[in-house]
Amino acid sequence: MSQSILPDDELMSPGHLGCQGCGAGNAMRFALKGLGPKTIIVMPACCWSVIDGPFPHSAIGVPVFHTAFETAGSTASGVKAGLVMRGDTETEVVAWAGDGGTFDIGLQALSGAAERNEDFIYVCYDNEAYMNTGIQRSGATPLGAWTTTTPTEFPKENPKKNILDILVAHRIPYATTASIAYPEDMIAKFQKARKIKGTRFVHIFAPCPTGWKTAPELTIELARLATETLMFPLLEVYDGERYVVHKPRRIKPVSEYVKPQGRFRHLQEADIERMQREVDRNWRRLLAKEAAGAAEAAQ
């Protein structure tokens, strides 16, 4: 076994306020390793707004601008413009938003920025609900999940919004998914993203033990299972067209991912079967897109 290739530098100090086993903690740590110190983070309301710690302290080792919930895309546009006008074209501006601030309230600003191809990296770390305010449903909450606003008597009735499709539709130069279970992949993607100009979108899967009602030690395993069961595939899309889809070495049934999670405990076998069919269908669609993109590129 050889040591990992992860860079040594820690740009996130311990002592932050993430829960035990917080997936967002891993997400930030890996992202910072991939981005390096020449980074400015623009952070709308999300778990990390609190995790970062109270004034006058901050766990994140690069400059952070806390901004209003729906403004990640717009504030980041402004910061980048300001930097460039001051003569700094090297510092990377990174919007760091949760699923709430991306899929829902922040979608307009993100879409506007993507349409303008603003030169920043937009990161959505997705724990599939409004966790910071106490586990309410978001557009990212998967079908059937319990949250405080989708109780078990009436769990989430609509499927998870496909945010990657939305960003791909804007034809930005680089859109990718990443997962805290695959840190080397995530870090490589951030390093790659840094070298691209224009709007780059990174959708990170970050399980939340508190909101998912799972044991804290399972956080990484759940992220891994999400990819191995194809619930959260790892893929990159270049210029809205060319797909590169990672095919897991072993594909597991969705039930393995669902069973350890308290937020899915009320599901019946029929629900899980339906979930499996949906996952399979989405996977076939994804592979078809990959093939179509390759055919297009070959022209």
């Binding site: 707004s49 004034f55 901004t67």
Partner: protein
């Protein structure tokens, strides 16, 4: 260089003279010409600035906040619905202590849709902590852009300069504009003390408990108050260089006046004519032009009102159920003055209804014939159905 331009373009020229770095704006009637001319200036390189064509006003202010936080000189313009949409971010600019300058074209708020002049949009932002300056002429608009940056960048608080829809925005006047290198003699480049800098990383705006938030707000209040002296100083410095001055509050023929009429915006211009007429008839009336709304010049108002007998205020706005906003502020300023004067509050011009010399005369008439107001608020010219005697 003197050119004939509409108020909106005066704003554009002002921003260009201020050599702004980042503009983020969204079009709305009657502001559109501001951003159209600025777009052209950026496109031709006349103005070296990044123009972010955001997808809403909320995003416009968010982008301006971001740019300013990065240490750039940021500017935007809007009106009415757009200003309201920005409301959350107006607070943000203040809390983050960012010297953004914005031009707001005073336009009535909907529903129903109304594009004409009315001050409710800007005045309903009175408590956010922005400085507010109300302009009477296109020259003043141009000059105030520069004053605003000068003051904001020292206070680290944002400033809104305000001009009436159509009366100024779309009306051409002679404006003596200057280029950026000339304006630089007055307004130096922006040198922020705190900004987003990877070489000296800090976080801005972390969660703050009551044990510290209180003091941060106290600081804003203290600093905003200092804006009064700074605005005066800006005006003085500007006058030394360019010969034009407006003060923060202007007295027009107030010597020995028994009735003082307070106005703001273009109503002031109309009122000057009426005051002249009344003075010609031997009436002891004077005009006070309110230019600085925030920070409110409490001491100046108290000083000015002391020798008068009665105060009249024309508000092109309404604070529902409590009266015109300028009137409320003036009353509040006078309350602890140690003396009492009756303040007559008049509402006129809302939604762009014309305020003519007749309107102003009507106001002065009212006040002339009464010792104290018998109503908190007088709505001038409300149409009522005539009463039929045969009912």
């Amino acid at each position: 260089m003197k050119i004939v331009i509409e108020g909106n373009h005066a704003v554009s020229y002002g921003a260009k003279a201020a050599d702004v770095d980042v503009i983020a704006a969204y079009p709305i009637t009657p502001q559109t010409q501001v951003v159209e001319l600025l777009s052209e200036m950026c496109a031709t390189g006349e103005l070296n600035a990044k123009f972010i064509k955001v997808e809403s006003e909320h995003s416009a202010m968010a982008a301006a906040v971001g740019a300013s936080a990065a240490g750039a000189r940021a500017f935007t313009a809007t009106s009415s619905q757009g200003l309201l949409l920005m409301h959350e971010m107006l607070h943000w600019a203040v809390g983050a202590r960012l010297p953004i300058v914005m031009a707001n074209i005073n336009r009535a708020v909907g529903p129903p849709w109304n594009v004409w002049s009315d001050q409710n949009d800007s005045l309903s932002q009175r408590d956010v902590g922005w400085l507010q300056v109300y302009c009477e002429s296109n020259q003043e608009v141009f000059d105030t852009v520069l004053h605003s940056f000068w003051v904001s960048e020292q206070l680290m608080l944002p400033t809104m300069l305000i001009l009436d829809a159509f009366y100024l925005s779309h009306t051409s006047e002679i404006v003596d504009v200057m280029e950026a290198d000339e304006a630089r003699k007055f307004l130096p480049p922006f040198q922020p003390k705190q900004f987003l800098d990877p070489k000296d990383p800090h976080s801005f705006g972390n969660l703050t408990a009551p044990d510290a938030y209180y003091e941060l707000r106290y600081e804003i209040d203290e600093d905003l108050r200092r804006g009064i002296e700074l605005m005066k100083k800006a005006d003085e410095e500007f006058e030394k260089l360019y010969g034009r001055s407006y003060g923060i509050i202007e007295e027009y023929r107030t010597e020995g006046a028994e009735i003082l009429l307070f106005t703001s915006g273009t109503i002031t211009s109309t009122s000057r004519v009426v005051i002249d007429e009344w003075r010609d008839r031997g009436k002891k009336v004077g005009l006070v032009k309110m230019r600085l709304f925030r920070p409110f010049p409490i001491d100046d108002v108290r000083r000015i009102c002391r020798p008068a007998k009665k105060i009249a205020v024309i508000d092109r706005n309404i604070g529902f159920s409590i009266g015109g906003i300028w009137a409320q502020e003036i009353r509040a300023a006078l309350y602890n003055s140690g003396y009492h004067k009756p303040v007559f509050g008049f509402i006129a011009g809302i939604g762009g209804r014309d305020v003519t010399p007749e309107t102003v005369s009507e106001v002065l008439d009212h006040v002339d014939h009464m010792d104290t107001p018998d109503q908190d608020v007088y709505w001038i010219g409300v149409k009522h159905e005539p009463v039929h005697s045969a009912r």
